[in-house]
Amino acid sequence: MPALSGELVVFGFASFLALAFALLMVVQKTPVRSVLSLVVTFFGLSVLAILLAAPFIAALQIFVYAGAILVLFLFVIMLLNLKEETADKDDRPVQRTLGLLVALALGGLLAGATLRAPVPPRGPLTGPRIPMPDEIPALGRLLFSDYLFAFEVLSLLLLVAAVGALLLSKRRFE
């Protein structure tokens, strides 16, 4: 355990933020509020990302996740005007308890497993080394060389998704 450095403090704060609001998100009954708590969690995560020498990803996190996806959620929630979860009594107690247990168990398992696991594949490094002062050009180069195919497929996927969403949410019956 290294000495209490500024980075460590930031990490502690950010991770606390993330975890706390993640929990809040789950226990929250009002959809809007859980969305908001998730936004905060994402802030925490993006801070962690910056600590992990990935500022670009951090910004992307905020821009895409918080800025677009979750706004979309909010938008839908308001569109459907969803209030608190109706009928708080869950008519499936087994599901509830069992679900909780399984979730915790799996969490524990994964934590243990990840901690025991060695640094993943020790093969030769594909991309350039990080941390580096400005990794964005490197990312771009990687994206358009090694990952070009994936990138193209992705663009296709996005197009399809857009069309599909349009089709699904179109009013057919009225």
């Binding site: 998730l38 962690l48 969803l82 679900g99 969490g107 994964l110 990312l139 089709l167």
Partner: protein, 111 residues
């Protein structure tokens, strides 16, 4: 917990901490996905799980000093965007026909 690979700048925060945070987030998300009844909340929880995994990737990327990890996260985020669009559209359509998004009230995957 084995440290970073040789030749990679050491981290002020032990990577293990990041991993734990990630797994915890994942567990929380999982719990949410299993316990929530509102389809949108479930969806949110799934997003959380995705992000937990992203964090994992970033951590490993940092540990190996390999940019590839960040690449994958980039892709995950993009795919998540597409998934969100379609999923939400489905919910809207669902709500229109059933007037609810409570997954217990919509037991359609049944004979």
């Amino acid at each position: 917990m084995t440290g970073a690979l040789p030749g990679v700048a050491p981290m002020a925060v032990p990577p293990g901490a990041f991993l734990v945070v990630a797994t915890l987030l994942f567990a929380i998300g999982l719990a949410g996905a299993l316990l929530k009844r509102n389809a949108l909340s479930i969806f949110l929880s799934i997003e959380l799980m995705l992000n937990a995994v992203n964090l994992l990737f970033l951590t490993y990327a940092r540990m190996r000093g390999d940019l590839a990890g960040q690449m994958i996260v980039f892709f995950v985020i993009a795919v998540a965007a597409a998934e969100a669009a379609v999923g939400l559209a489905i919910f809207v359509a669902l709500f229109r026909t059933h007037r609810t998004v409570d997954v217990d009230k919509i037991a359609l995957l049944k004979w």
